[in-house]
């Protein structure tokens, strides 16, 4: 599958052959940083002064590169397809190789970042438990009531939430049994077949 690059995009990327390889590599680094943390105008200005071009040109160059890398990572295109897509830009062999390397090096990280953009529920972080035995209460003395107290830590979009919960021994065994079944399910023939056929 080839990438479809718009005219505007190609224009922005046209800046890249005008600088040497080290700068392109640096732009690549800035591009991934941009994905992680957002744009940093000061970097653009610094680079613009050093290379004697406008700040806008730098910004477009970085954004163009970012878009190239994210689209390729999102679609998980093969090396060959990436090379063919970039070929239309008419860059030098050396630059093409550099871009491919940038793609392969950063693909995993970019996909990880893109995954965070998906709609999501709180996700499991960790669990701690404690075993307690209630011996008495205001309304009943001489009890022996075992309880399992649980601290469930969840993450959502960077926010942590903690839930304090409790359960009795019978329910605990039931929970373990049910969730073990859930894990086993992935190993069934049905699931294996589905995984094999969706590629």
């Amino acid at each position: 599958m080839l990438l479809d690059l718009s005219e505007e995009h190609k224009e922005h990327l046209a800046f890249l052959p005008r600088v040497d390889a080290a700068v392109v590599a640096e732009f690549g680094r800035i591009a991934v940083e941009f994905l992680r943390r957002g744009a940093n105008p000061k970097i653009y200005e610094g680079a613009a002064r050093k290379l004697n071009v406008s700040s806008d040109t730098i910004q477009h160059g970085v954004e163009g590169l970012t878009y190239l890398l994210t689209e390729s990572s999102k679609l998980m295109i093969s090396e060959l397809d990436f090379q063919d897509s970039v070929f239309v830009l008419g860059f030098s062999e050396e630059l093409n190789k550099l871009l491919l390397q940038l793609y392969l090096d950063n693909r995993k990280e970019i996909r990880r970042i893109l995954n965070e953009l998906a709609p999501c529920l709180p996700s499991y972080h960790s669990l701690e438990w404690r075993l307690d035995v209630q011996l008495a209460s205001r309304s009943l003395r001489q009890q022996i009531k075992p309880t399992v107290t649980v601290k469930l830590n969840l993450d959502q979009n960077g926010d942590h939430s903690t839930h304090f919960l409790q359960t009795d021994p019978a329910t605990l065994l039931h929970l373990v049994q049910q969730l073990e079944q859930a894990l086993e399910e992935m190993k069934t023939n049905h699931c294996r077949r589905v995984v094999r056929s969706i590629k």
Partner: protein
């Protein structure tokens, strides 16, 4: 076990054959247990024809006293001998002591369950449901191809009678971690019960 004067007087009155004949005594006793333990019981418990001849004020006093005593006895888990001793002190005759003890014994379990369920506790997990999905793509990321789980814990709040749910997603490793920890807890529980 400390009982107020009001309760003691009411209880002693119950012992008096002049105020309560045997039949009335048995009826009142049953009404007291019923109003504590039977969720559907209402005022009509005291409306029995066998109790009609007794002054309603006295009836209510003795009913309240009996119920209070029953709760205190249940709370402290008194045994039969403590029960008999107190009843003797209140001047109950042997027959009535026998009836009381039998009725108490029959209802002891329900009483203890009721008393044990009063009180605050953390939200209690009652059940779990899960969903297994195979993630294919999002609009930001294609070709994901990984399994994902969605787990929902059903939770009950002791006081507010509300049933919130806690849902979260996790991948295979995280679910394995969760199950591992819960298994540790249950093994630890097993060991503790064998001590």
């Amino acid at each position: 076990m400390e009982l107020s004067e009001y309760v003691q007087r009411g209880f002693q009155r119950l012992a008096d054959p002049g105020s309560f004949d045997s039949n009335a005594f048995a009826l009142l006793l049953r009404a007291a247990f019923q109003s504590l333990l039977d969720a559907r019981a209402d005022e009509a418990a005291l409306d029995h024809p066998g109790l009609k001849h007794i002054d309603p004020v006295v009836l209510k006093h003795c009913h309240a006293a009996a119920a209070t005593y029953i709760l205190e006895a249940g709370k402290h888990r008194v045994d039969r001998s403590t029960l008999s001793t107190y009843l003797e002190d209140c001047k109950f005759d042997q027959d009535r002591i026998e009836i009381f003890c039998t009725e108490y014994q029959n209802n002891k379990n329900s009483l203890e369950i009721l008393l044990g369920s009063i009180g605050r506790s953390l939200p209690h997990i009652t059940d779990v449901s899960w969903r297994l999905e195979y993630q294919i793509k999002t609009n930001q990321l294609h070709k994901m191809y990984q399994p994902g789980y969605l787990v929902t814990l059903n939770v009950e709040n002791s006081d507010s009678q509300s049933y919130p749910e806690i849902s979260f997603s996790c991948n295979m490793e995280q679910l394995q971690d969760l199950v591992g920890k819960l298994k540790d807890a249950s093994k630890s529980l097993e060991r503790a019960t064998q001590l």
